[in-house]
Amino acid sequence: MLGLDKKDTTLLIVVAVLALFAPFLLNPFPTESALAQFNAGYPDLMQRFVIFGIFAIGFNILFGLTGYLSFGHAAFLGVGSYAAVWMFKLLGYNVVPGIILSVIVAGVFALLIGFISLRRSGIYFSILTLAFAQMSFAMAYSVLTPITNGETGLQVYSSDNPLFQTATDPNVPHLFGLVMRESYTMKVGAWSFSFNNGYYLCAILMLVAFYISIRIFRSPFGLMLRAVKSNQQRMNYTGLSARPYTLAAFVISGMYAGLAGGLLASMDPLAGAERMQWTASGEVVLMTILGGAGTLIGPVLGAGFIKYFENIFSKINESTLHGWFSWLPDPIEDPLVWLLEHFIGGGWALTLGTLFMLVVIFLPGGLVEGGQRIGRLISGKSRGTEDETGKPAATSHPAE
């Protein structure tokens, strides 16, 4: 289907179903229950899952296929956001021009940076991209304040007078009148599920992005990118020029980042400079590795994983803990709460740090490998029979 083989089609369908039913899947606990804290099915977080999923999918096209580790990809996310907010300021709150422009601007920006940075490889390339992104961040934070609104972040003011904004248009981002922030809430017994317009727009674009990424992985172009990673020398002596390939991959992944940035701004019309900081670039690197670099679905999983812990664990506080464990006798409750307190609220980073280590130590192929192990356990296949070439399955089929 859609020019994909059976396995890829299945994967795409699974992802599509997951994305479509995310409002149910992410809200498994009744609203009033103690575990509702772990529900992630509210619009903002769901949007973030798919938007950062797009970001990571794009990053993976560069890193997973070519092995070029960019440490400045957040710059493209940032310019994408700025471009989109500027469109809102100038043209009006319809998200279409913003999203289109964010992709284009990020692509052009990636072309410039990529053209220069790709003159080097390995760590030298990483540091070049980092330097460009950090420069962009520093400028956006202070010098370019007239364009970026600095520390506060670029936003739409009522004095902006967009060109095409009519009185009847919603005064928030919308898609031809479909307001992004609006949701339909469905109550089923003790559960409540919200279906948000913005989320579905993002999810559809994510599916498109995912589909394109599968196609890229399976294309001759994708094969060449893997060849770059494997042996550039051989590539050159086989009559292939590695530079245009890597540059194309860089620009494509920059456009993905721009799309993610544009969507972020479309869901919430504010573009902050921190989006371009090295920590943001680092985050997408972590997402990709955590999920499984070079795999199709890994980056999406990694993005979800990180955003989940950041947003859910940071909101648990001591009194929530006491609420959960109040049924325990005090001498047990207090030490338990004391211990868990390290990992919640302001300690969410500790949870994340610990999980990073555990995942990378025990699941060398990232979360995808975890999934495969579970799959194997279920299907009862022993590892030895996986394939006869002697290479573990995770690496010989890099796109699982």
Partner: protein, 251 residues
């Protein structure tokens, strides 16, 4: 006038004259062997031919066009393919994928942006790569990870990759080193067969005299960076200087 004309090429590495005034002419559709002691500059000469090294002076013309100053991929696109002394393959890819890449390079040129095409649907490429694997007797290894093959197999794969490009000039740097005798003979047969089937010029570096004398139509002996003699195999075999400096008593 040969298809490859090397004139007055010099190359120094620091104090070492690796190539000194090398003149070489390789006639079209011949197998030309370059032999010589270790460190004579044979690989260096090949490096100059494929654009890996730029000589200090001199000129290299392929089919009437200069190759100097061109990037390796451009030189390859002109029709020169090279097999390296230590196998250079795409270790992370499967054998089949390894074989497909040169086929793509041959068909699409140095760069082609086709991110939405599907590798599996490129039937011409798949067929060609499969045929080459069959020719190389490696078809049963098609799904194998190239890096986990034994070294002899890697070398055969690399030769196959170069041949699948149908180059006009094939440069082989010790293609049968470390290859079992049977495979060496197979390779010789393969090269002979290819030679017979299509117009191809082969320049080969080898220390295995069995290979050299089975294939070569002309031989250049290189010593300390300069050609010592150039002649037919029979003459070279009997050449006293060559025997002393290179072949030793065993030849």
């Amino acid at each position: 006038m040969g298809i490859l004309e090397v004139k007055n090429v010099n190359k120094r590495f620091g104090g070492l004259q690796a190539l000194g005034n090398v003149n070489l002419s390789v006639a079209e559709n011949t197998v030309h062997a370059i032999i010589g002691p270790n460190g004579a500059g044979k690989s260096t000469l090949l490096n100059v031919l494929v654009g890996k090294l730029i000589p200090d002076t001199g000129s290299v013309m392929f089919d009437g066009k200069s190759v100097l100053g061109r990037a390796p991929y451009e030189i390859n696109q002109m029709g020169i393919s090279r097999v390296f002394q230590t196998p250079e393959i795409f270790g992370d890819l499967t054998v089949m994928e390894n074989m497909m890449i040169p086929c793509f390079a041959k068909r699409d040129g140095a760069f082609e942006l086709n991110p939405l095409a599907s590798v599996g649907k490129q039937t011409d490429i798949v067929e060609r790569a499969e045929q080459m694997l069959i020719d190389m007797k490696m078809i049963d290894k098609r799904h194998m990870h190239a890096a986990s093959m034994s070294r002899g197999d890697k070398r055969r794969l690399e030769i196959g990759m170069c041949l699948s490009q149908q180059p006009r000039l094939l440069l082989l740097d010790e293609p049968t080193a470390g290859m079992a005798r049977a495979d060496t003979n197979n390779t010789i047969d393969l090269l002979k067969q290819i030679k017979a089937e299509r117009d191809i010029t082969i320049a080969i570096i080898e220390h295995d005299m069995h290979v050299v004398f089975s294939l070569a139509e002309r031989i250049t002996v290189l010593a300390q960076g300069t050609p010592l003699v150039e002649d037919t195999p029979d003459k070279i075999k009997g050449h006293p200087k060559v025997r002393e400096a290179y072949l030793g008593e065993s030849a």
